[in-house]
């Protein structure tokens, strides 16, 4: 059955992807309920009209359709998804409202005593995410450890079901198949899903985990939650089976059996857990190593190269060495890593300092940075800082000035940032269209986030780029990729 599903999805993607393969890739980060999707079939009109029951629902005020039916392949939509994005993908494909489809899935899961949930998990495995090459399931088939983990999970679920059947709780045993399928599926999803999907899931679990600021508090909270669930389960069991004698009699035998199975399978389970942990640690180590290599390349090696090239200018060499020293110190002792803004700076002042260090180290240009006020960086302000970094690097590369001034001011309603040099300047109207630096990296980046850019420059008269980003924009706009 699963294979059939897979083939169906495959053929769907094959027949539909002729439409707009590029639009597919670009459509991925958009919200699923974005009405201005690039997909519109020639006969889109007929598709968007709600018919029969749908129109009746609409008359009752239930929004059934939210936009044209997508003619694209059936893909999971990660953006705007609650779990795996299956519902969002279906919504985009069929044109029905996401909420309605979600409600349908939940109802189906309840009515079929869990089979619906299992089908959802299978769909999660088999439907490729929008913009992704292959499905999670395809990747999972090559993941031997993941399959081992799935087998481990299955054996534990089977054991739990055995206990449950001994306790005479048929309503649990009736969930056997969906539970096993979901268990296997989720184990494979968690091992093979790409990072951004796991981030979505983390967004779901974080509100619980984030309740306590410290990790220790978090752990205690999680334990309390688990205990609470256990107690609830026991209460529910006893509620169904109030006579304790009946409950205990089969339990003895079952406990023996469970003990035997646990003794037999225990080492295997332990090995799965150990392997899993070892693999995760190895992956973390490899990531750290790669990150350190990148940092050392971007900072120390770059500076050493610059020093070799400027060996004749002791002033420059000292400046380079000092900037590099400052950067290394703040990396080693304040764990403030050099390089890009994303996730490395928490506040506007931090980001400005990063830009200063980066440009001084990598471009040998002194940056006079002044920050007035401060605030946390959100997505919009991070984009603004990336634009500011681009503008500063531009000034360092092209202006020929001795120093670049960087001024950031955080005001209650907005953040303003000015990048100024007294270099050779240029005619903003005469920039050739193929020079994308200013247009793409700065102006487009700011415009996407609701910010604005002013460019003041004239040949021989220096350049000043002014960036302004409204601060409340982050609250007004939904999350967008940019």
């Amino acid at each position: 059955m699963r294979r059939d599903d897979g083939r169906m999805v495959d053929s769907a993607s094959r027949t539909a992807s002729f439409g707009a393969p590029e639009a597919d890739a670009q459509g991925a980060p958009n919200n699923s309920d974005d009405v201005t999707q690039p997909y519109t079939r020639p006969d889109a009109d007929g598709q968007t009209q709600p018919s029969g029951w749908a129109s009746r629902l609409e008359a009752l005020g239930v929004p059934v359709t939210r936009g044209p039916a997508g003619g694209g392949p059936l893909r999971r939509e990660i953006d705007g998804s609650v779990l795996g994005g299956v519902a969002a993908g279906l919504a985009k494909r069929t044109g029905f409202n996401v909420g309605l489809i979600r409600a349908g899935i939940v109802i189906a899961a309840l009515v079929t005593t869990g089979f619906g949930a299992a089908v959802y998990v299978v769909a999660w495995l088999l439907m490729p995410a929008a913009g992704a090459e292959s499905s999670i399931g395809a990747r999972a088939l090559r993941d031997k450890r993941g399959l081992g983990l799935a087998a481990g999970v299955t054996s534990i679920v089977l054991l739990a079901l055995l206990i449950a059947s001994a306790l005479n709780a048929p309503w649990i045993t009736s969930l056997a198949v969906p539970l096993i399928v979901s268990g296997i599926g989720l184990a494979l999803v968690f091992r093979n899903a790409p990072q951004e999907e796991l981030d979505v899931l983390r967004g779901l679990t974080d509100p619980v985990a984030r309740a306590g600021p410290s990790t220790r508090k978090r752990r205690v909270l999680r334990m309390l939650l688990a205990l609470g669930l256990l107690v609830l389960g026991l209460v529910a069991l006893l509620g169904i089976n109030p006579t304790a004698g009946e409950l205990l009699r089969p339990l003895g035998g079952v406990l023996l059996l469970v003990g035997a199975v646990a003794t037999a399978l225990g080492p295997w389970w332990m090995r799965i857990v150990r392997d899993e942990r070892a693999e995760r640690q190895a992956r973390i180590r490899a990531e750290e190593r790669a990150e350190i290599a990148t940092r050392v390349h971007d900072s120390v090696l770059q500076t050493l190269a610059l020093i070799q090239r400027r060996a004749g200018d002791p002033h420059q060499v000292v400046q380079l060495a000092r900037a590099q020293e400052r950067e290394l110190r703040s990396w080693l002792f304040d764990s403030r890593p050099p390089g890009s803004m994303d996730g490395k700076a928490d506040t506007v002042a931090d980001a400005v300092r990063l830009i200063q260090q980066d440009v001084e180290a990598n471009h040998g240009m002194p940056v006079d940075a002044v920050t007035v006020g401060n605030c946390e960086l959100d997505d919009d302000l991070t984009a603004m800082m990336d634009a500011a970094r681009e503008a500063t690097i531009n000034a360092a590369k092209w202006s020929g000035a001795d120093v670049v001034s960087l001024f950031a001011e955080v005001e209650p309603e907005s953040v303003a940032l000015f990048i100024r040099d007294r270099g050779r300047g240029f005619d903003p109207a005469a920039v050739p269209p193929d020079r994308k630096g200013l247009a793409e990296s700065i102006q487009a980046r700011m415009a996407r986030r609701g910010g604005s850019v002013t460019v003041r420059s004239a040949p021989g008269d220096g350049t000043e780029i002014g960036l302004t980003m409204p601060r409340s924009a982050a609250d007004r706009q939904p999350r967008r990729s940019g």
Partner: protein, 226 residues
Amino acid sequence: MNPGGTSAGHLRPRVFLVDDHGMFRSGVRSELAGEVEIVGEAADVAPAITQIADSAPDVVLLDVHLPGGGGQDVVTAVKNDHPGVKFLALSASDAPEDVIAVIRAGARGYVTKTISGTELVDAIHRVAAGDAVFSPRLAGFVLDAFATGTAPDVDRPSFDPELDQLTAREREVLRLIARGYTYREVAKELFISVKTVESHVSSVLRKLQLSTRHQLTRWAAERRLT
């Protein structure tokens, strides 16, 4: 910049250097050669105080950090007996509390050690003429310390709007200085004369020195940079 433009008669100001780095002193000496008259130099607080009293310079270029104490100790010790001596603070560290301390002790301005030779000469002339010299960074500090958003000590009994608040125009001037504009460029941008810019900056300096605003000290302590 044209150094003679604003120097009010001090064609060759007499300058005294206080800095504990001999390398830096000789560097400044060679950069200023011909533009100003260097009348002496000292490497620490105590010798600086006695030698400044002896040589009576127009301007003292004063490092904020000295082995025997802060630059403000030199200003405090000299200014009562020699009110004609003006101080221009120089620093590489930019720690706000040090800079604010030396300004509040009586220095007429503050520039970073990375300043270019011609700009330094310009700043010395300006200070010698009795004007204030703000580096972009000092302008930023002041904007931060006098930020409108953190003004609620208006209720304080000693609150003096004359001293504890910046005018809108002063704020504009400081903002442009923080953006790296020279006084002349500020004047052009705001359609006012350079003299008016200078008087705005002097007025800000006076507020910085005399204001008892809580934020000033609290802010400097909070923003202790390394």
